[in-house]
């Protein structure tokens, strides 16, 4: 099995030279993306086939010489492999159409399949070296893709920050594996499982830094909202929807599989980070008016939700409550899948809008629902799903997370008793804010009247993109109404990590899901869906049949002040204003300066809002200035005279001799 997977990963890599050779040939994109699509689909099938199969391993004479590179396809790897390549397949399909508008194809095509291959290899790797190589290869290729449009905006800065932080994360992971490998350098995961690492604390922190910086945990998220939007949209979808999941995989693999038994306090760290990340992410997102950046920030929020699930799982595992742990982990992993689906969908939509209007700024959009109805529809589905509205898939995983939280009072440790409810509140808050955020995203972009000529002239996107988006939207619905199937698919992975699996869901009558016991809680997306359809159609038919179905178009109510300008509509910023007043003053030090001209003055009134990113100001800006200052200080060494250099040598000699003289 694993060999087959490796073959197709290699096939993806084999596309690279083709892409380079194809160069600027106009049809190159069809070949490259088509081939990637096929390979990814094959990998999806392999992954699904090996979900329930026993782990299969392989060893190639690559990587560390005396070690070789090990690969292993177990349930967990299979699940993530499926997620990765599902996203990859969708992106490839989308890109066949989307790529037509690419201005610099020769900077995108070669790196795209390499990026896909890198992500798949990370999931397959079974020793530290192969893992890290694939991991950093993934970062590197995605960096190249971010730099594809290096002359636009501050993409260069984005790419720079991205690469530096990615390398920092990799460094943290290298240290993690150094600890896990121990003195005798047992670099294979099998040896790590066998060994008993001593510095558990260091391992967890380093793993959190390493995987979290790639996943976008606050406060390591700063690169994400810069880099994800900078890339071409189908790559943004991959980075946001898929690559962050690979990071989650890294954390799960280390924390649940390699690091041995978790200590009780691990979960506290993870939960706190997850809760903060969820709320901060969505608040950041609410303040944006760049559509893609908003989506990127939302990735941060969802990563937070996922980590909440993982943290609960760690807590339950540490206090050995396997069933509860299984529930929490299932919730987390299910959200991994769900988020990869609807986030890709949303980025595809954003890309379609970008192509149709050349605008990423929502303030310049509006009314697109009339020009691109199908895109609007699928985008709406995505928004509803990510806002956790039943009967779509986003709700299921959040519901499961809530159920897991409700199991936590049995936890003995006090720290958890205090933090878990707070995290629950944060989770609920972030869910509500997410809904608000996507009302804004969809409403300002697609509804209302077009705010610019560009938005006015927009036209529906091509059929490949629509096919990809439609497929993902359908997936959102299916995963929402029959979640049992997906939960069962997760069962083997969960069992391998926490030692127990949830009761099989597919057996339950009416296809509803019952995590613990029916008396406790149950949810049936299918029935809710049917109910809504039936009652809605019932009402509609009844009214149209028995009451009136007449309709007349008229100008909207204007309070008696007719004005046609679309500028009078609510903008993204004005929509977010109430929430900014409630939360922003604390979180972003939000300040509003209103300058109102005196009566009779015809100057327009101005409202200036300033937000400050406290994470950047407190963490990263000082770091940068510190390095700069040190560089300046040391730079004087470049300008010494020869005599002064000689005195340096002299001093070194004397010091060393002194050391010798006082040596015992």
């Amino acid at each position: 099995m694993v060999l087959a997977a490796l073959t197709f990963a290699a096939a993806l890599l084999a596309i690279v030279p083709v892409a380079i050779a194809a160069g600027r040939w106009s049809r190159a994109r069809v070949v490259v993306y088509g081939a990637s699509l096929v390979a990814s689909l094959a990998l999806v099938l392999i992954a699904l086939a090996s979900l329930f199969a026993p782990p299969s391993t392989a060893q190639l004479p690559l990587g560390l010489p005396w070690l070789g590179s090990h690969f292993r396809l177990d349930a967990l790897a299979a699940f993530f492999l499926a997620v990765v390549n599902l996203g990859g397949a969708a992106a490839s399909l989308y890109a066949i159409g989307f790529g037509r508008h690419e201005t610099a194809p020769s900077r995108v095509l070669p790196f795209y399949p390499a990026f896909l291959a890198g992500m798949s290899l990370v999931v397959l790797a079974d020793d530290a070296f192969s893992f890290l190589v694939s991991w950093e290869f993934m970062s590197l290729t995605s960096w190249a893709l971010v730099m594809a449009h290096h002359r636009e905006g501050d993409n260069m800065r984005a790419g720079y920050i991205y690469l530096v932080m990615a390398s920092a994360g990799t460094a943290a992971l290298i240290l993690t594996f150094g600890l896990l490998a121990g003195l005798d350098g047992g670099y294979t995961f099998a040896q790590m499982r066998a060994g008993h690492p001593e510095f558990a604390a260091a391992i967890l922190i380093l793993a959190l830094v390493g995987a979290g910086s790639k996943a976008g945990l606050v406060p390591l998220h700063v690169w994400l909202p810069l880099a994800h939007p900078a890339a071409p949209s189908h790559v943004s979808a991959l980075m946001s929807g898929v690559m962050t999941k690979v990071a989650v995989y890294g954390f799960v693999r280390i924390a649940f599989d390699l690091a041995g038994e978790p200590a009780w306090w691990w979960s506290i760290v993870v939960l706190a980070l997850g809760g903060i990340t969820a709320v901060m992410g969505v608040l950041y997102a609410l303040m944006q008016h760049d559509l893609k950046r908003l989506l990127a920030y939302h990735t941060v929020e969802n990563i937070g939700i996922i980590f909440i699930g993982l943290g609960l799982a760690l807590a339950f595992k540490a206090h050995n409550m396997p069933l509860a742990a299984a529930l929490a982990l299932t919730a987390g992993l299910l959200h991994v899948f769900n988020h990869s689906v609807f986030k890709s969908l949303l980025f595809f939509g954003a890309g379609a809008v970008l192509n149709a209007t050349g605008e990423r700024d929502m303030e310049h959009l509006g009314g697109l629902i009339h020009r691109m109805p199908q895109t609007a529809f699928v985008f709406l589905v995505g928004c509803a799903a990510i806002s956790a509205l039943p009967p779509l898939n986003g709700f299921v995983s959040e519901w499961l997370t809530f159920q897991a939280i409700l199991l936590s009072p049995q936890l003995p440790s006090w720290g958890l008793k205090l933090i878990v409810p707070a995290v629950g509140a944060l989770l609920a808050l972030s869910a509500a804010l997410a809904a608000a955020c996507f009302v804004k995203a969809f409403g300002v972009t697609f509804l209302g009247r077009p705010r610019t000529p560009a938005a006015e002239r927009a036209s529906e996107t091509d059929r490949f993109s629509l096919a990809a988006m439609g497929f993902l939207a359908a997936l959102c619905l299916v995963a929402g109404i029959v979640p049992g199937i997906f939960m069962d698919a997760l069962a083997p992975a969960v069992e391998s990590l926490v030692g127990q699996r949830l009761p099989a869901q597919t057996g339950v009558q009416w296809l509803s899901i019952v995590p613990i016991a029916e008396s406790r809680s149950s949810y049936n997306g299918l029935l809710v869906f049917l109910f809504m359809i039936i009652s809605g159609t019932l009402a509609a038919t009844a009214i149209h049949r028995f009451a009136s179905d007449r309709l007349r178009r008229a100008p909207p109510w204007d309070c008696g002040y007719p004005d046609a300008s679309p500028a009078t509509q609510y903008t993204a910023d004005s929509f977010a204003q109430p929430i900014r007043r409630v939360f922003g003053t604390v979180v972003f030090r939000a300040r509003e300066h209103v300058e109102m001209p005196p009566p009779g003055d015809t100057r327009p009134a101005r409202l200036k809002v300033e937000l400050r990113d406290l994470v950047w100001d407190t963490l990263y800006a000082p770091l940068a200035t510190g390095v700069g200052a040190a560089a300046d200080r040391l730079n004087h060494m470049q300008f010494l005279t020869i005599r002064q250099f000689l005195s340096l040598v002299f001093a070194a000699l004397v010091i060393l001799l002194l050391v010798l003289a006082i040596w015992p």
């Binding site: 878990v420 509140a425 009302v439 409403g443 509804l447 009402a539 008229a554 929430i579």
Partner: protein, 318 residues
């Protein structure tokens, strides 16, 4: 056979809530009018309004999209499903396990989501005001509600309304501080969710003060009728939710005869009436607050809910 009976009961419940909802609204208005020394419209006035609105033609804004026309049905459907899942006169309804309390709240949330979109669709500033304020209120009300759910779920060991209700009937709960806090929080949330004074004024038509009304300003005819119906359904839902959680007495158990059902219905009607009167009293005795005082109001609810949950978490280990 039993299945058919269950189906019948479930259907009866759905019809019941649908029919009672306008009546409750009418009752509240009537009582308020009386408290203000006014005659007030007859109780069945809401029905008349609905029917008239249904008959009228729809006047649609020029650039309203297809979404704008679907949303009323979506909102109505979501609210109706949610309302019909709350046990009113009988626990253990056939489909009650198809969605627990969290799901019900999420259903209401989706109704609000679509309504807020509708507010933005026409592209006038009133819709914008309404939606933005609505989501702001919701962003605080929903977490508060979830906290309340946590409290109750931890007490009852379930998020399943029927189970909760039957557990609370069984009376082995005793009096708990958490429940008290949860009740207050729930009432606050209910007021906010139903756009009642002091958060919002259903009767106002002054654009700058209204929230819910501003969102639906562009709706007319059957669309407006559906939205109004959904609104009163929501009111009914919250009243019966409070009733079923904090005054579950007289509710019929799953496998009991017609007599019990009759008692259950009677008790339910009683609770509704009481709830309506209390709401009217409360509304007349308080003034509407500024929009940006609302967060503090709701924040209080959130804090209460969190406090209640914390108390339970801590008390578990004692």
């Amino acid at each position: 056979m039993a299945l058919i009976l269950d189906l019948a009961v479930q259907g009866a419940q759905m019809l019941l809530v649908l029919l009672l909802a306008p009546l409750l609204t009418g009752l509240v208005r009537k009582v308020k009018a009386h408290l203000l020394r006014r005659q007030g419209p007859p109780l069945i006035q809401p029905y008349r309004d609905l029917i008239r609105l249904m008959r009228k033609e729809v006047v649609l804004a020029e650039n309203a999209s297809w979404l704008f026309r679907i949303i009323p049905y979506l909102v109505f459907a979501a609210t109706w499903v949610a309302a019909s899942l709350v046990p009113t006169f009988r626990t253990g309804l056939l489909f009650s396990w198809s969605a627990d309390l969290i799901a019900i709240i999420a259903l209401l949330g989706s109704a609000r989501f679509y309504l807020a979109l509708a507010g933005l669709d026409v592209g006038t500033s009133f819709g914008g005001i309404g939606s933005s304020r609505e989501v702001m209120i919701a962003s605080l009300a929903e977490p508060a509600m979830v906290m309340i759910v946590f409290t109750l779920a931890l007490v009852a060991g379930s998020t399943q309304l029927s189970t909760m209700a039957s557990f609370l009937i069984s009376g082995e709960v005793g009096l708990r501080v958490s429940l008290g806090l949860a009740l207050i929080a729930l009432i606050i949330v209910a007021i906010a969710e139903n756009a009642r004074i002091p958060v919002d004024n259903p009767a106002t038509h002054l654009e700058l003060t209204m929230v819910h009304e501003a969102m639906v300003l562009e709706y007319s005819g059957r669309h407006l009728a559906l939205i109004d119906l959904a609104a009163s359904l929501k009111l009914l839902l919250y009243v019966s939710l409070i009733a079923c959680l904090f005054a579950p007495w007289g509710m019929a158990a799953p496998d009991t005869g017609a007599a019990w059902l009759a008692i259950g219905i009677a008790a339910y009607l009683g609770k509704l009436a009481l709830g309506g009167v209390l709401l009217a009293l409360f509304e007349t005795s308080i003034a509407k607050m500024r929009v940006f005082r609302v967060p503090e109001f709701l924040g209080a609810a959130l804090m209460l809910g969190l406090l209640a949950t914390l108390l339970l978490f801590v008390s578990r280990s004692l």
